[in-house]
Structures are given as C-alpha cells and as structure tokens.
Amino acid sequence: MAALHELTLVQAHEALTRGDVTSVELTQALLARIAAVDSRVQAFLTVDADGALEQARAADLQRARGPSSALLGIPLGIKDVISTSGVRTTCGSNMLATYVPVYDATVIARLKQAGAVLLGKLNCDEFAMGSSTEHSAYQQTRNPWNLERVPGGSSGGSAAAVAAGEAPATLGTDTGGSIRQPAALCGITGLKPTYGRVSRYGLVAFASSLDQIGPMARTAHDCAMVLQVIAGDDPQDATCTGHPVPEYVAALTGDVRGLRIGVPREFFVAGMQPEVEAAIRHAIDVLRDQGAIVQEISLPHTQYALPVYYLIAPAEASANLARYDGVRYGLREPGESYFDELERTRGAGFGAEVRRRIMLGTYALSAGYYDAYYKRAQQVRTLIRRDYLEAFEQVDVIAAPTTPTVAFKIGAHSDDPLAMYLEDVCTLPLNLAGLPGLVVPCGFAEGLPIGLQLIGRPFDEQTLLRTGDAYQRVTDWHTRMPALV
C-alpha cells in the first residue's frame, strides 16, 4: 500500500472502511506530513492538530457504531476565506489576523455533519484577490513541483496542500479561476461548481455574484465525493435554492461514447505556450478515442470577459470589504475620530492589491460612471452567458485550456498587475456565465503540470465529473506526485 499521505480520498475511504487504518492514524500521518514538508510548501496558515485529532477520534467511534458516510474520518484542508467556528479565519489578510469566527460556514457544518476531519486553514491571496498567492499577507505558498514557482491562486494553499500530500482533498473558492488555475498549475483536479450549487453562507465575500466554493483533490471521483456532501439548497443563501442534488459518484460510468465536446477557438489565445496547447489538444484526442464527438465551436464574446470581470468583481468587492472598519472585529488602528480610525485601520489592514481593487470598484460604481461601467459590464455579461447557452445546444461539454502557460516564477508578474490578470483569461468567463468547470491534469511542460478545463451546462456537474473520471481512467497524470526537493 502507498504511504497514507499519498492515498486518494477514495483509497482513504476504502482503507478506513476495511479497517486497515483508523481516522486517528490517517490524521496523524497527514499532520506528520504537514510537519515534514509545509515549511517548504507553506500551504497552511493554521494547523488545528488538536481539533483534527479530536474529530478523528469521534469519527472512529462513530464508525464503530455502524454505517458511515463517505467522508467519515477523512482529513480535509479548508481555504482560509471560509468561516470556521473557533478556528482563526484570516482571508490571507492582516485585517483579520486575530479574527476567530463564532459560526461555521454551511459547507463546514455539512462536512462536520458528515464526520470529516478538518486539518486547518490554507493560504490564499488576500481576500482571494490574485492568481499566485503572492498577495497573501502571511507567506508565499510554493508550487510543490518547483518551489521557485507560484502554486497559482487564489486557492494556492488548497492546491499545493493536495499536490504535496498534506491533505487528500481541500476546499477552495473560485471567483475568476481561483480553484481551476491553481489546480492546473499544481497538477491536481479541481471543480468550480455552478453558481448556486454550493452555499456561500460563511464564504467571506470577494465578489458575491461570482464566488463559489468547490472541491480540490487528486481525482474527479474524489471531487464528486466532496461535492456530494457540500452541494445543495441552503435557507441561509438566497442565491442557492431550487436545484436538487443528483448522485455524483453514481454518475461516474466511465462512458463518454457519444458525448459531444466543443472546443472553443477563442480559448487558444496568442501568447499561449505551445506545449500547453499541445497537451490540451492531446487530452481532447484521448476523449475522442474514448468515443466522444469533438467539434470546434465559437464563443464570440470571450474577449470581453476580462474587462467585464474587472469591472464587476472589484465593484462588488468595494462594497463587500466596506465592513472592515475595526469596530466589531479584526484590526483596529486607533485614531482621532471614527473616520480617522477608519482610514488608518483600512490603510494598515489591506494590502496593495486589495486596495487597488477597492479603488477600481469604487470608481466603477461612482455617480456618472455607473451606467458606462458597471451597468454596461452587466449587459455584456449577459451576452457572454448567452454564448455558452447557445453553444450548449450543440455540445454537452466544452474542453479548453485552463491557463495559457505553466506556473510562472515567483515575482515574475509582481510589477505588472495586468499581466497577472491575464492569467485568468481562460477561467473567468465561466464565473461571469455562472457555469461549472472541472480541471484535470493532462501533461507537463518544463516539469510543471498542465490542466485541461472542462466546462458544463448550469447544474450539470455530473457530466463534467463523468468526463473527467473517464479521462482519468485511461491516463495517469493525476497519479504523479512531486518529489518535493
């Protein structure tokens, strides 16, 4: 048997079910792995060893009592923008360095209900704003395949932790690609569900109309098991309602015969790394060989996604981040008056990228500019969504690259925010359209992973998972682990 920290979630579940290992042993093995490698990877901001072991003991007792759920006793890591009762939740920001939530996000409550073990909280770009985890106020998470490279972002900690064997699965969040891009760069599988599939209650908001929580793991099958637990209506989230949850694991038939796959020409952008394009096209060929029907399609408004995104997301962020005023929680820098204190607190608490986006968003919403910017952006957003819905009349799944290149060097884009924003050019149209996207590893260039992005119809995660799982049944990219040297 492989080392415990190398097990997929499915393998860990089977080992626990057979009694080959206890949850306490599995949790201890992962805590040991974190202790061994995280000083180099720097994925975790908070490791809750005591809490995790307590949950593991409870899970073992629960298992002894009878039938158990798929995640019982499975250790998971959580991106640090998701509210965890009693466990510090920093959002990668100095603003919340001391913030300990009094409540669990709905996804956390559901994981706890299912008996999962929560190892700790994972690093990310500050308030999930970034594509490299360089904007964390705390530490630079590194790509386990090459420690000089970024892990992607903003869920860089969540991706690196899985790639480095520190957790079989983690939760990330995706506002413009923050699950899919780091999954691709770290060589793991990541799912951004449809907007409204998973409750956002307790997800610290970046851009409310775009944010979505999703699983990150080694395989599509693992993602399906986590999604099963976290998906579904939530009376505490008015945008998460009215969509029954299917049986995701049951949908993994391995059969993609007759599946119609569209390949959008607009996604193969200028400046794309040739090895990346080759790997993506090869992966599509693999699916074709498995019986899928591949055709080229067009998504004509793709070029507008980036400007539209950088109006809508900062606009919403400028309001969402207004609550950090030092009055009720988080950092407070004393001042002469409320407004003086407010300026000092926000000046000290927010990093440069967060401040940049707050200013962009404030401008876009200002009197006299609203119609030209925010409102126009929402109109174009409708056109982008329409592109996809029309495409889905022809095809069942869209296959595309996730990123134009493999992971870049730490610091490569630090002087050029626009170059950083271009990282998300292939991922953020899905957030604007509210669609689900699954990334599966499909090759390497320069020793760094490449990820294939599969895009699905609204609330049709099962077809994406089936496609990704079928691909992983005949490929082994997802089984490779970095040497971590």
């Binding site: 939740t89 959002c91 956002r200 997800l203 008015a238 309001a319 919403l365 200002s366």
Partner: protein, 483 residues
C-alpha cells in the same frame, strides 16, 4: 412680496414583523439589553448572507395598496454604500431604481378643503444600529436595531403649509397603524420623518433651493420645524441672500433648525443591485392576495358610518380614528341590531360614557374591552329602550359593567335596579302616596290636574328613582280613577 411654500415628506416607518429584514433575529429590540438581538448577518460578520423576510415584503406591499400605489412586479434590493459605525456591512440594503410601490396618493384636509397628496414611492430597507456617545468622548454602538425592516414613504412636493404637512403625517400614521404595519410609536422612533422644504417668490416658476430637515419625531415638531424653516428662508430671501441646498437638523431644545451639511459634501452612495438577493418577482396573483388582506380603510369606513349608521361627521370621525375603537364599535353595532337598538345610540354610549370612563381609568379601550364587552353597550341601551331601567340606572349599570366586567342585565337584576313599573310594589307605593296626601288628592279630583306632579314626586322618592315617571303617573291616574 408673497412666497410660495413647497413641502415634501419622507417618512420612515418600521414594518411590524417578528424578525428582522434579512435574518431571524427578533425585531423587538426596544427593551433588550444592547447587542443581544444579533447574529452573524445583522452584525455584518464576514461571510454572512442576507435572506429577505417574506412578511416584511408582504406588509410593505399591503401599505402600498392602502396608499393607492402600483406594486412593482420586479423588485431589486440595492446596496447603498457609506461608512458609519452603526452600519455593520458598510452598506445599507435598500431600494433605488425599482421601489416596491409607486404612484400612490393620500387624501387629507388641505388648507383650502379636501386635498390629494401624491406619493412618489414606498420602498423597503433595513435600519442601522444605534450609537450612544459617552461623556468621555467615546461612542457605544448597539446593533439590536440593525436590520430591523423599514419602509420609506416619499411624498410628492404637493404640500404647501406646515399644517398640511402635519395633517398628511397624521393621516399616514392613522393608515399605517390601522392596517397593522406600524406601531405608530414616534417616541421610540418606529415612525419618523424628514421634511424637504423650499420657498420661492409668488409668480416664479422654478422651485427654490431644497432644504432637508432631518430627525423629526412628532406631529407638533413637523409643524414647528417647517414653520421655523420657512420663516428663516423667507427672511433670508427678503434680505437678498441665497438659499443653499442643504441638510438641517431639527433641534427640539431651541425650536430651531441647525445646518448639518451642504450639497457640496453630499455623499455618493454608489447604489448597485445587491448580488446576494436575487430580484424578487411579485406576480399578479401575489398582489391579489395582498389586496384581499387589506382591511376597509378609515375614510371608507367613516363614510359608511355616516350613511349606514346615521352618525354625525364628528362621531364618524371619532369612531374611525383608531382601528381598535372602530372595530369595537362595529361589534357593538352588530350586537345592537337584533336588539332593535340604533347604531347612533351605541355611538353615544361609546363616545360619551365609555370614553369618560377610559379617561378616568387611564386605560386603552383594548385593555378595558376585556371587561366591558361590546355587546354590553347594546344591552344597556336595550334595557333603557324597553323601560326596564331609568337613564340614571343605566349609567350606574354601565359604570358597574365597566368596572366589574359583568353584563348590565345581570347587574340590574342583582341589584334590583329594574324600574318599579308594574305590579304590586309600585301599586303599594302609589296607594301609600294617595293615602298620605289627601289634600293633594282632593285638589286633583277638584280639577287641578297638575297636582299629580307632587304625588309623582312622592312616589319617585319612595322608589329611590327606580321607577320611570311615566309609569308612576300612569299607575297614579289608574288608582285615582278607581277610587
């Protein structure tokens, strides 16, 4: 030179719901210790999300219908962005482009007779927390009120005097309380008002610069604040000064308005649709349900009381001022009808004797109605109509019913208050009076018919007032002819 006055009011009314606008916390904050009716949502904790209160939207729509508004089918909640320590999210959830209710009106008594005041809009929003400034220069904030549902009711600038403004405000309060959407309690801030006022020389078409007066929480103050502000503006204009568009606060202590900020510092609220709340679609069927929920309104009921119950305009007004009193009266009338008692007589008992008793006891009718049931008004009048009791006894029985909560008929029976009108008791007393006053009897028989009055008085005295004079006279005449 004469000046024309233009006034519009913005009224903020708490919507009476059990829970807050966007979370399950109790909205009954008034008596609660600070920061006890709070949760992650109304404290603006990171990651919390709002879920709209269905009942609050229903009641706001009900208000719109009562105010003759059109209910919008597509409703958008917007974020109004500004920083303040009592605003937990850094934005207030409100409505901007698409308010719930538009284009309504309210009829009032204007300075020159009946007048219709137009309503621009009624929209829903959430209240803020409450700041208390301490002696040492610090501030304390209580979030119990944060997230309590409010309606903002905006009038057209159709009001032309402070008196009209007061009457409009009073009329709105009457309607809001009547339909049960607001407590009408202005002292606690459940109902408050901002007034916009401008003046211009007669003959000038364009409105003068608009001044907003904030923080008015009584009918008297709305009138006084506007009177003061109009006087101030007219004086300024007469002195050749320019009025600047600005916001002023009403200061109760000095009876003046005080400059707060001018338009130069006006905030840009950067409204945009709240992405956490999908647009609310209100169907025609839904609006029809609300319409079915709407009770008869005071103006309509007042008219009906005059037409159907033959009440004077004054009585009809008094009996439609408050819903509880009006409904009580309706119940009393319902009990009166089968007893052959006129609604007008019931109204007299209510506005006369009952109001006096309430004033003495300091109770509201709702409280006293636990004892003095509406049907007792009908019953006491019936006893009177049927000659069972005298007017004096009726009042006594009514007072006893009010105090003791027992039926007037029962009280009359137990205390022997029934008129001694027939039978042996009266006959005995009549005979006794005849026997005791032979001289008077002689005078009567001799043709001095008025002499009977003395005998009636004697009998009445003997009955201690418990006989009707008519019955006594009848019995005396009978007895005197018999002998």
């Amino acid at each position: 030179m004469d000046y024309l006055v233009t006034i519009g009011l913005e009224i903020h009314a708490q919507i009476q719901t059990r829970s807050k606008m966007f979370c399950g916390c109790s909205a009954d904050y008034a008596a609660a210790p600070p920061n006890t009716h709070v949760c992650p949502v109304c404290m603006g904790l990171p990651g919390s999300l709002p879920v709209p209160n269905r009942r609050a939207i229903e009641l706001a729509a009900l208000t719109g219908l009562a105010l003759n508004c059109r209910i919008a089918s597509d409703n958008v909640i917007s974020r109004k962005n500004y920083f303040y320590a009592d605003l937990p999210s850094g934005y207030q959830r409100s409505q901007y482009d698409d308010p719930l209710c538009v284009n309504g009106w309210v009829d009032i008594d204007g300075d020159q007779g009946p007048k219709r005041i137009g309503l621009t809009r009624v929209h829903i929003e959430e209240d803020t927390g409450k700041l208390t400034h301490t002696a040492d220069g610090g501030s304390l904030v209580d979030f119990n009120r944060a997230g309590v549902p409010l309606m903002e009711i905006v009038s057209e600038p159709d009001i032309t005097s402070p008196e009209e403004a007061r009457r409009y405000f009073q009329k709105l309060r009457q309607i809001l309380v009547w339909i049960g959407v607001n407590s009408g309690d202005m002292e606690s801030g459940a109902l408050r008002c901002d007034a916009n006022v401008s003046v211009r020389p007669a003959g000038q078409q364009a409105y003068g610069a608009k001044v907003e007066i904030k923080n008015i929480n009584s009918f008297r103050f709305v009138e006084r604040a506007l009177a003061y502000e109009i006087e101030r503006q007219v004086t300024s204009l007469r002195a050749g000064e320019r009025i600047v568009q600005s916001t002023r606060g009403w200061d109760e202590a000095t009876g003046t308005t005080v400059a707060q900020r001018t338009k130069e510092f006006a905030e840009d609220y950067r409204y945009f649709p709240e992405p956490d709340i999908p647009p609310l679609r209100l169907t025609e069927a839904w609006v029809a349900e609300r319409r079915a929920e709407l009770p008869e309104l005071p103006d309509a009921r007042r008219q009906r009381f005059m037409t159907d119950y033959d009440l004077t305009p004054y009585d009809a007004t008094v009996l439609t001022d408050e819903r509880a009193v009006s409904d009580y009266y309706e119940q009393a009338v319902a009990a009166a009808r089968p007893r052959g008692v006129a609604p007008k007589d019931v109204a007299n008992w209510l506005t006369g004797e009952l109001f006096r008793l309430l004033k003495d006891s300091g109770e509201t009718l709702v409280v006293a109605a636990q004892r003095i049931r509406p049907e007792y008004l009908a019953e006491v009048q019936e006893l009177l109509n049927n000659g069972v009791i005298t007017r004096t006894s009726a009042k006594e029985a009514f007072d006893a019913a009010f105090r003791e909560g027992r039926a007037p008929a029962q009280i009359v029976a137990e205390r022997g208050m029934a008129v001694i009108g027939a039978g042996d008791a009266l006959t005995d007393m009549v005979r006794q009076a005849i026997a005791d006053n032979p001289k008077v009897v002689e005078e009567y028989r001799g043709g001095k018919v008025t002499a009977i009055k003395y005998l009636i008085g004697q009998v009445m005295k003997a009955t201690r007032g418990q006989a009707s004079p008519q019955a006594v006279q009848q019995a005396l005449e009978q007895e005197l002819t018999r002998q």
